[in-house]
Symmetry: C2
Subunit: 385 residues, 2 copies
């Protein structure tokens, strides 16, 4: 059976990335590998739109979030965390774990933090050193207006460190690290970067680098001082995940060829098409501020998630994600992250349409995919002749 | 040019491992992946010779060492660390970093810790909670008699946690986790496990698991409580490095087919052959207690390391390792770890022989490899008819 992944991480691997990862293994303390790391770093700077350092880590995205917390802050510091889903909550847990005092803004799942909420929390907190938030919340398919929020923080709280979980936004949604004044932004390999999981990255501002020098938090594997000290010589403090970094390097070449604005536009087009397709099938969207990285929708009451998931997998070879936490069994999530083209959006909605019909849900064959197709076709109408 | 890695990590990848890592990427929260994790865990138990849990981590070996330190001990605890090289020293640094008080036994590079030295240190320390040592020190090519040391610790200091860096010993040297009474043993994917770097493992005794519950150290990404809580359901707390775990799973199948005793015997045979070959070339061995995982030898005074390394790489496609720390430029290190057969040992010494001659060193063509061949042939003479 042909298998197709539509999960918001891991995401499908391009053939080029697979081939590159299968090339002969090279030792990491060689000029050859350092040339790869140098090229990779330039591409990462392009991706984050920054002239500063982007540190690679051998870990999941959570490891890079921990690195941010233990390097930028010290036990006793106060930070604002924004919990609008499973991954926002993780910032709170990380802060608590490392003795940092999190003042948490609880945002209902599926809604987006507003600049006013954050302003109020920052005014209400005693000496808040940082803000830890999620650009695109994977558990709910919700994106915040990071540009507006960053502008508010930079203008009104210039010394506060703005730390962004960009794990499902980098390479999918517009994000301009330097221009927007972000201080730390993390991402992982298995999302927009189209590579298997296992490496993560942290972009750091000058303000963040100064904070790193002052932090009294205990850290060694994730000590960014060690990583920054050898970054210019294209080295890593510990043995890196060589093949995964080669994969990311190849993926970034593909992304560079496509162009960042084109990639963002593609994700927007696919998300819109998926939203229209699901609506045409009669599904209600979950998020009130949907992210272009993935689309979450409520399952019809008559549909049992486990059965639908099973049908999608065994009958059509399609893997989509279900809900997390309180929403397990209640929502489904379809990824637009990474290596997808227009036809893939037709494919996933086609499978969903048929699986829903098989589950007894009254959908009409062709209705969902026609809406997808119509939405995708709008690009032809907007092209200059 | 044909490239051959003879570095003590990363080590060469078997074709089967490469192919397995290139199979379609599967999502980690699926039954299919859980079946792989279940199979992998049984194989890991076989490898460590333990009936207890072996936790996978997405990190380098250093990450697994950190996980050991922050989970088994608490700030203020006293531990004995054994520093006989770069990696032994890492235990000391890790302990210090996390507020644990290391009483360090300094062992001259190239010599092995003796049980008496450890006994004395344990008697001299105030309430030592653990011993942190290196089975096979990669920076010097030296192995300790872990069986004898473990026997002494278990008999005389039954409550002390014995933590072993097995990064270049697991799958190369005899190591029996349960029978010898080890409490924590870490290894990495890119050594005896014949897979690219990026995942590491920690085997844990019941004593260790009790200590983990009591530790007050701050940890989240490396929190082994979280990992142990989901291990039985073949899950991981964070997104794992899926393709690398598949690679390790395949490598372990190959190892299982060969048999552990056979693998240990092969490493012993190759190390002996390399030692004999280097001696026949006129090189002096570095270690007084050589490990079967790799062979370290002094460079002849007339030979410049950088030039020799360059010749080996550009003329013969061979990568060996140089010295680390004070011994950079003074020694060379040849790996026997993982995917090597008898003929590979002839190959590496053949290349070294020619590179040495090219550098002006007075070696006789064929002398080194004849000694290798003679040593390897002994197996034929010792076989029962």
């Amino acid at each position: 059976m042909k298998h197709r992944l539509f999960t918001p991480g891991p995401t499908p691997l391009p053939e080029r990335v697979l081939r590159r990862m299968g090339s002969p293994l090279i030792h990491h303390r060689t000029d050859e590998f350092r040339r790869t790391m140098d090229h990779l770093h330039h591409r990462l700077q392009w991706l984050f739109d920054t002239s500063g350092p982007v540190v690679p880590l051998t870990s999941s995205g959570t490891g890079a979030m921990e690195a941010t917390v233990v390097n930028l802050f010290s036990p006793g510091d106060c930070v604002i965390t924004v919990n609008g889903g499973k991954f926002g909550e993780r910032w709170t847990r990380l802060a608590e774990t490392f003795g940092i005092n999190p003042q948490e803004i609880l945002v209902p799942w599926g809604t987006a933090l507003q600049p006013e909420q954050l302003r109020e929390a920052l005014h209400g907190a005693k000496d808040p050193r940082g803000v830890l938030l999620t650009h695109s919340e994977t558990s709910t398919g919700t994106a915040i207006d990071l540009k507006a929020i960053a502008a508010m923080v930079r203008k009104e709280f210039p010394g506060t460190l703005l730390c962004v979980d960009g794990i499902t936004s980098v390479g999918a949604l517009e994000l301009r690290f330097d221009a927007w004044g972000i201080d730390a932004c993390v991402t992982g390999s298995q999302k927009g970067l189209m590579t298997p999981p296992g490496v993560a990255f942290v972009a750091l501002s000058e303000r963040a680098r100064k904070a790193i020098e002052l932090s009294t938090s205990r850290r060694m594997y994730f000590d960014l001082r060690r990583a920054l000290a050898v970054l210019n010589s294209n080295d890593t403090p510990w043995t890196p995940a060589i093949t995964l970094l080669q994969g990311v390097d190849e993926a970034l070449d593909m992304m560079y060829e496509e162009g960042l604005e084109n990639i963002w536009a593609r994700h927007a087009r696919h998300a819109k098409a998926a939203r229209n397709g699901l609506a045409a099938l009669g599904l209600k969207l979950f998020s009130q501020a949907p992210s272009n990285a993935l689309t979450a929708a409520w399952l019809p009451e008559s549909v049992v998630w486990k059965e639908l998931h099973q049908t999608l997998q065994t009958r059509f070879g399609i893997t989509v994600a279900g809900g997390q936490g309180d929403y397990a069994g209640k929502i489904l999530r379809i990824s637009h992250l990474g290596y997808y083209d227009d036809l893939d959006m037709v494919t996933v909605v086609a499978a969903l349409e048929r699986a829903l019909i098989l589950s007894g849900f009254p959908a009409t064959p062709g209705e969902g995919i026609s809406a997808v197709q119509k939405s995708l076709s709008e690009i032809e109408n907007t092209r200059t002749p």
